[in-house]
């Protein structure tokens, strides 16, 4: 039995959830709140969770049969893809696999910035960003969107013409910001990214894995309304 720790409002947790759905795996989602030290609902900084996942981050995956505990969404996704032999999502060909790895590593300091710039200031008040930093991060979003737009002008997906783990890893932080979801970033100037987001949304199990979007949107609308009042 596989246990996924996290919440679906977390982009990396959702990426793993989506891959588990695509694998048709037997798994259980156990709610762990990122950044909280509470016991109920269990927080990622609570000592019970820290004993299992020392860096105190979500998502994490536990295989109760072998005792394996992994954290970091990319490591978990490639584990699932190899375990369930999902060769389309994580190709066995050396070059293609290396390119998927390239984008998944690139993600950490690039596409992930969308979350730090636009999502975290609303949902993670515990992370104290300075105004200077937020401004820098918003500028970096433009840079990342340009890089993605350039890459996606050459192929329909990040690695050639197949949907892979690279698209899932990068989509969760970038795609959620699109107008049709959380409306945090306007991709009108980045037509290739805009088209790629819509293409990725056609992949199997997309809807089932992203039911949280309308819930998050309501929170954002409320926060923005309150801000306007001030």
């Amino acid at each position: 039995m596989l246990k996924l720790y996290g919440v679906l409002g977390s982009q990396p947790a959702r990426a793993v959830y989506w891959v588990l759905k695509l694998a048709n795996a037997d798994f259980e989602l156990i709610e762990v709140m990122p950044g909280s030290d509470k016991e109920k609902p269990l927080g990622s900084r609570n000592k019970e969770y820290l004993a299992k996942v020392p860096p105190g981050i979500v998502p994490a995956l536990e295989d109760t049969e072998t005792g394996l505990v992994l954290w970091e969404s990319n490591a978990i996704m490639t584990y699932i893809a190899d375990k369930f032999k999902m060769n389309d999502l994580y190709p066995e060909d050396l070059g293609a696999r290396a390119k998927v790895q390239q984008w998944m590593n690139w993600h950490h300091h690039n596409s992930r910035v969308f979350t730090f710039a636009l999502f975290a200031p609303i949902f993670r008040p515990d992370i104290k960003f300075s105004e200077k930093e937020l401004k820098g991060n918003r500028k970096k979003c433009e840079m990342v969107a340009n890089l993605l737009d350039d890459a996606l002008s050459r192929s329909p997906y990040l690695v050639g013409d197949k949907f892979t783990l690279a698209d899932i890893a990068v989509f969760e932080d970038v795609g959620e910001c699109a107008q049709q979801h959380l409306a945090l970033f306007d991709f009108a100037k980045h037509k290739n990214v805009e088209a790629w987001i819509k293409r990725v949304e056609q992949a199997p199990e997309f809807k089932e894995s992203h039911a949280v979007f309308p819930v998050l949107k309501k929170v954002i609308d409320k926060v923005q309304k309150n801000k306007a009042k001030l």
Partner: protein, 247 residues
């Protein structure tokens, strides 16, 4: 057969991790140094290889790849003898490989911003000009030094506890790709004062004894001296700047 070309700088941790992996993989490479002061990473030719303006980049025939972890896995899988692959990133053991991946990915957001952030702030910006003004200068203005210090200390604590449970970071019996990547980040702290504990120095022995012992094991690993020599050549200059109060 033409040798794979590696673009990078010995002053860059990810480049050194790639060079070390290439050495252990027994693959001869054609190393092309990048000088950020001259803007080698901003030329149209380089941007064609990596529009991110970052290195290392490997060019193997027509195949081009960036991101050090991806390159390390690629070189290993394509060129290394079977026993080396089995040791560094075992094809026969998915769980071991995934534990190695967990630590490689963890590095990106915890150890690297801590260690590399501090070294950039305290040493590199006084040592290396970077005409791109897009990474080094930029991040330093926005990220508070206290956060880098906390990230480094938190990361070292997580690693110290982990190493206490086994000799190597991912629970393997010998050094893996994760140890190589993580230790390459750690060893850059050598440019800080030798007799002070982190975050202000590189003496791990008091506060992080397991990281200290692990560092000694990694320093003894084949190829380390060769790979680090280009980097430590900067040490006298750093110490001179420090004694003049310029660091």
């Amino acid at each position: 057969m033409t040798k794979p070309i590696v673009w990078g700088s010995v002053m860059s941790q990810p480049t050194r991790a790639v060079l070390w992996t290439a050495l252990l993989s027994r693959v001869e490479i054609d190393f092309r140094p990048i000088d950020t002061g001259k803007g080698d990473h901003l030329t149209p030719e380089f941007l064609k290889l990596n529009p991110n303006k970052k290195f290392p980049v490997v060019q193997d025939g027509n195949f081009v790849l960036h991101e050090s972890h991806a390159i390390m896995k690629y070189l290993l899988e394509k060129y290394a003898p079977a026993d080396v692959r089995e040791q560094l990133y075992p094809p026969s053991d998915l769980e071991a490989r995934s534990r190695i991946d967990t630590w490689l990915d963890w590095k990106h957001n915890f150890l690297r911003p801590g260690a590399c952030g501090l070294i950039r702030r305290r040493v590199m910006r006084h040592l290396l000009p970077d005409v791109s003004k897009h990474s080094m200068v930029w991040d330093l203005k926005e990220i508070p030094a206290e956060r880098e210090e906390r990230m480094l200390l938190d990361s070292l604590k997580v690693m110290d506890d982990q190493i206490a449970a086994g000799s190597y970071i991912a629970g393997t019996n010998s050094a893996s790709l994760a140890d190589i990547a993580l230790f390459t980040e750690i060893s850059q702290l050598d440019l800080l004062p030798q007799d002070v504990s982190p975050p202000h120095g590189c003496d791990f022995s008091k506060d992080f004894p397991n990281v200290h012992a692990w560092s000694q094991r990694l320093r003894a690993l084949e190829g380390y001296e060769t790979i680090i020599s280009g980097f430590t050549r900067a040490q006298p200059k750093v110490e001179a700047l420090r004694s003049q109060g310029k660091l």
